[in-house]
Amino acid sequence: MSKKMQITLTVNGEAHDILAEPRELLIYVLRERLNITGPHVGCETSHCGACTVTLNGKSVKSCTMFAAQADGAEITTIEGLGSPDSRHALQEAFKEHHGLQCGFCTPGMITRAAKLLEENPNPTEEDVRFGMAGNLCRCTGYQNIVKSVLAAASDINTAKEAAQ
């Protein structure tokens, strides 16, 4: 064990000062120290994407990054997308199109999809399948996830047009 480090993370808009060992993974700090349990641990090898968060504007698998590397970062997790009274378009679309079953991949899946739609607001089915390939789902066979993401893209675009 080595000496603990002082780390500052801004998670879902809230700043946290944390004392953590240098070897502590970001997912561990989020879940165990900050009680942000939306992101999950599925593989700890970067394959499954259940731990996906947005870090400084990029999709990141928080199971293979040290918390110390994230010092000073802005992080968004599933908890920071929408609220019970005003759900994110993706949260609505996943429900509407049966884009989830056991729910374990869902926080990472939606967090990644939100970033994907920022990067590419008008994706094709192929774009979605490729852009979401870092997130594994064991239940749905992806077809309804793809459908949900495409529907959310359309909903977001419609809302934007209406606002203009």
Binding site: E21, P39, I78, Q101
Partner: protein, 805 residues
């Protein structure tokens, strides 16, 4: 009295009952990160457990030195078999009548086996301590081949070496577990030996793994003040876990509460009891603190229950015109180090004897030899009823091979051998009574939907082009027609550790007309909170949105055997409907009293009881519920509650027709899946949206299994596929697109006619994908290629056929 009478159709729609694609009530939580999985549970003072595991597949444990680990700051305890022995917990019974080491007792029998259990302040300290436990091993000869195991002098299970019989009869070799037989062996041999046409082949269904996204884990919390043990965990059968925990620990069952919180997928992996649960309970009792154990992905793939690993030697015979006359299956089943299959007790090979499939086969025989090897124990039903997917794969390969022998189209061969609609209920040669089916209608619909004749014509054209050297891609049409057997099951022959496989539902109607129902099952993503409320809505006339469904807490839910083997809808779904009917019967008496007529003069109408012939006189279920609590009704107890324990009279037999079309590149072994069509008949359809989702998911698992997913070992017993780098789990990118379809043939013995669907796509899907690969290379001489059909193996098959020049 009641002035507003909405249209009947509107009232039905408002219920969101049977048959509607109700959106899932679970999703609001899950989409907002508010699921509550076992690893999300945090109790005050909670410690963390982690295992020292064996790097060897077969070795003697010479010594274990935990002193360095115990000296580490934050380490609370290190448990070994020696510590568990005084409690009688160093071994535990398996669901299959065998016993299994909880922690290595003298030797280890598979790589990844649990050797010592470390308890520490947090996960990092526990992992450090695992590294500090010194274990000295003496390597022993490893056996990973079940056929060699039966010839070898190396005795794997020294603890039972001298025993010539086990839980399932005679053992003919120290590494032999059982021979289980069904059917008429001599009559079958006689027919096949003198038949016009016989197809014979060894068909291997490789070892794979359910690998849910959430691994297995638990939190054990022993409250020493009041003597209560609470066990949270990823349990597909929480009530059975409670009973087993009580029997093992000696803690009275009323002092144990088992809770399955949200479960991140199960697929059979979370049915059994693992050493991690036992060690966590002991550690909590010893330390007086809650102890959490959550395995990592590698541990999940290496040490928890695998699936399949069946070597199936088959013979099928027919007349010259293609009428099947007999089927024989001689199976060598690799069970690994301990027989820890999760099957109903009396069925050591599960329901493999559904292997006559959808065909009218007059005589058949099945013999299954269970064998010990130096591999992880398990043998669970990975998204299928017990060994049904092995059976379906076997018969659907044998049919294809028979078609080759006969020179007949495989679709036509199926058609002329299907059990006819007028033969149901149908007695199979291996002892099952199929409840209902209309196979010809389903098959014709499927073939028409994909334009089967057109596909065959295109395939022939492609083959000619291939032969002319104009293309290197062959086209395969994978056919599959499966009959499942699910809904275990009748208590007279189905039990697990002596507990009959009934299931249950308890309903309480609240005074203001909403309700809660609790069941003995537990959802792992199937959407029970949504669909069971739909069953109830149609039965009792209360909107599904006003019914809470709760499962998984043994202190509150009625006893049930859990969710696996597609048994929730056939068994607990039936209990739900019948409990609902009890509510309705009482509601009828209350309504009659309120309406001042005789009980028989009112009838149920969607959401109310009406006076027969005077529909303007009625009482809604909400009014009846209120009356049940606020009026003294002569001869009727207050309240409106019911409970039903349902013992099914028979299994249910869902069926379906799946067709996969693919192009196979003979030079690279790569495949391109062009089309996957899946027609399912699961009887009455409760929620078409959920059914479609189940089919998509099961097909993707089938695709993975058939095309690349396996648990593989080298000769030293090293597991070569223990990470998601090596264990194939398809992404959105390579997963094919699916077209779903259905016919609807209700089960005659189920209260609402439903049969269960969650596992059908895995059962029917694997042969569809595999048969497509075979079909592509069949015209060039391929008979049998063992799964998985990864690029290398397909390339090699093409190479062996001389297609690479």
């Amino acid at each position: 009295m009641n002035d507003l009478t909405p249209d009947r159709e509107d009232r039905v729609a408002k219920l969101k009952g049977l048959g509607c694609s109700r959106k899932r009530v679970e999703d609001a939580r899950f989409t907002q990160g508010k699921g509550n999985y076992v690893d999300d549970i945090k109790l005050p003072g909670m410690l963390h457990g982690d295992f020292v595991r064996s790097p060897y597949a077969h070795a003697r444990v010479v010594s274990i030195d935990a002193s360095a680990a115990l000296a580490l700051d934050g380490v609370v305890a290190v448990l070994t078999a020696k510590d568990l022995e005084p409690l009688g917990l160093h071994w535990m019974p398996t669901l299959a009548g065998d016993k299994q080491m909880v922690l290595a007792d003298g030797k280890v029998l598979f790589q990844g086996q649990e050797v010592a259990y470390v308890v520490a302040r947090d996960r990092y300290v526990a992992a450090d301590a695992v590294e500090l436990v010194e274990v000295e091993y003496e390597e022993l000869e490893v056996i990973v081949d079940p056929f060699k195991a039966l010839q070898s002098d190396v005795v794997l299970r020294e603890d039972i070496a001298g025993e010539t019989s086990g839980a399932h009869g005679e053992r003919r070799h120290p590494n032999h577990i059982f021979l289980w037989e069904e059917g008429d062996k001599s009559a079958t041999e006689q027919v096949i030996d003198s038949a016009d046409v016989v197809a014979e082949e060894m068909i291997y269904y490789h070892r794979t793994h359910p690998c849910p996204l959430e691994t297995c884990g638990c939190v054990a919390s022993m409250d020493k003040v009041n003597g209560k043990l609470t066990l949270y965990g990823t349990f597909q059968a929480p009530h059975v876990v409670r009973t087993v925990a009580s029997l093992l620990s000696g803690i009275e069952e009323h002092n144990i509460r088992v809770v399955s919180p949200d479960i991140g997928g199960g697929f059979g992996n979370k049915v059994g009891v693992y050493p991690g649960y036992v060690c966590s309970i002991v550690a909590s009792i010893v330390t007086g603190k809650p102890v959490k154990w959550v395995e990592d992905r590698m541990e999940n793939l290496m040490a928890t229950a695998f699936a399949r690993d069946y070597w199936m030697k088959g013979r099928i015979s027919a007349t010259k015109d293609g009428k099947i006359t007999a089927l024989e299956a001689k199976v060598t089943a690799d069970h690994g180090a301990f027989d820890a299959c999760a099957d109903p007790t009396k069925f050591p090979a599960g329901f493999f004897h559904i292997c006559t499939g959808s065909y009218d086969i007059p005589v058949a025989y099945v013999g299954v030899d269970g064998v010990y090897t130096n591999k992880a124990p398990g043998g669970v039903a990975y998204r299928c009823s017990f060994r049904v997917t092995e059976a379906a794969y076997f018969i659907e390969r044998m049919i294809e091979l028979l078609a080759i022998e006969l020179g007949m189209d495989a679709a036509e061969l199926r058609r002329i051998n299907f059990i006819r609609e007028d033969q149901f209920p149908y007695q199979s040669a291996l002892g099952w009574e199929y409840d209902s089916g209309d196979y010809h209608t389903a098959w014709d619909k499927a073939l028409a939907a994909v334009d089967y004749d057109g596909l065959r014509a295109e395939q022939a054209t492609r083959l000619e082009a291939f032969k002319r050297g104009e293309t290197r891609k062959l086209m395969g049409i994978g056919l599959s027609f499966f009959t499942e057997i699910v809904g275990a099951g009748p208590v007279k022959n189905c039990d697990i550790l002596g507990m009959g496989m009934f299931d249950s539902c308890e309903i309480r109607i609240h005074p203001t007309g909403s309700a809660i129902a609790r069941l003995g099952t537990i959802s792992q993503g199937q959407g029970h909170a949504t669909t069971f409320a739909q069953i109830l809505a149609s039965e009792i006339g209360i909107p599904a949105d006003s019914i809470t469904i709760e499962e998984g807490d043994t202190d509150t839910a009625p006893y049930g055997l859990g969710t696996y083997g597609s048994r929730s809808t056939p068994v607990a779904g039936a209990a739900t409907a019948l409990a609902g009917r009890k509510i309705r019967a009482k509601a009828q008496m209350i309504a009659a009293y309120l309406l001042e007529v005789h009980d028989n003069d009112v009838e149920f109408d969607v959401d109310r009881f009406v006076v027969k012939g005077a529909p303007e006189r009625f009482k809604t279920m909400a009014e009846i519920a209120y009356a049940a609590y606020n009026q003294a009704i002569p001869g009727v107890e207050p309240g409106l509650e019911a409970v039903s324990y349902y013992d099914p009279p028979n299994m249910t037999y869902p069926f379906g027709a799946y067709i996969c079309v693919m192009d196979v590149d003979v030079d690279t072994g790569e495949v391109h899946i062009r089309q996957v069509y899946a027609l399912d008949d699961c009887g009455t359809r409760i929620n078409p949206m959920v059914i479609e989702g189940q089919v998509h998911g099961g097909l993707t698992e089938a695709y993975a299994i058939a095309m690349a997913q396996e648990i593989a070992y080298d000769d030293m017993g090293n597991c070569k596929t223990a990470t998601l780098m090596d264990f194939f789990w398809p992404t959105a990118w390579e997963t094919p697109h699916y077209t779903t379809d259905h016919t609807e043939t209700p089960s005659p013995h189920h209260p609402i006619g439903a049969k269960g669907v969650g596992e059908s796509p895995n059962v029917g899907g694997v042969p569809a994908f595999s048969n497509a690969v075979h079909d592509a290379l069949r015209p060039l001489g391929l008979r049998q290629l063992h799964m998985p059909h990864d690029h290398w193996r397909i390339w090699k098959a093409a190479n062996d056929l001389g297609l690479h020049g």
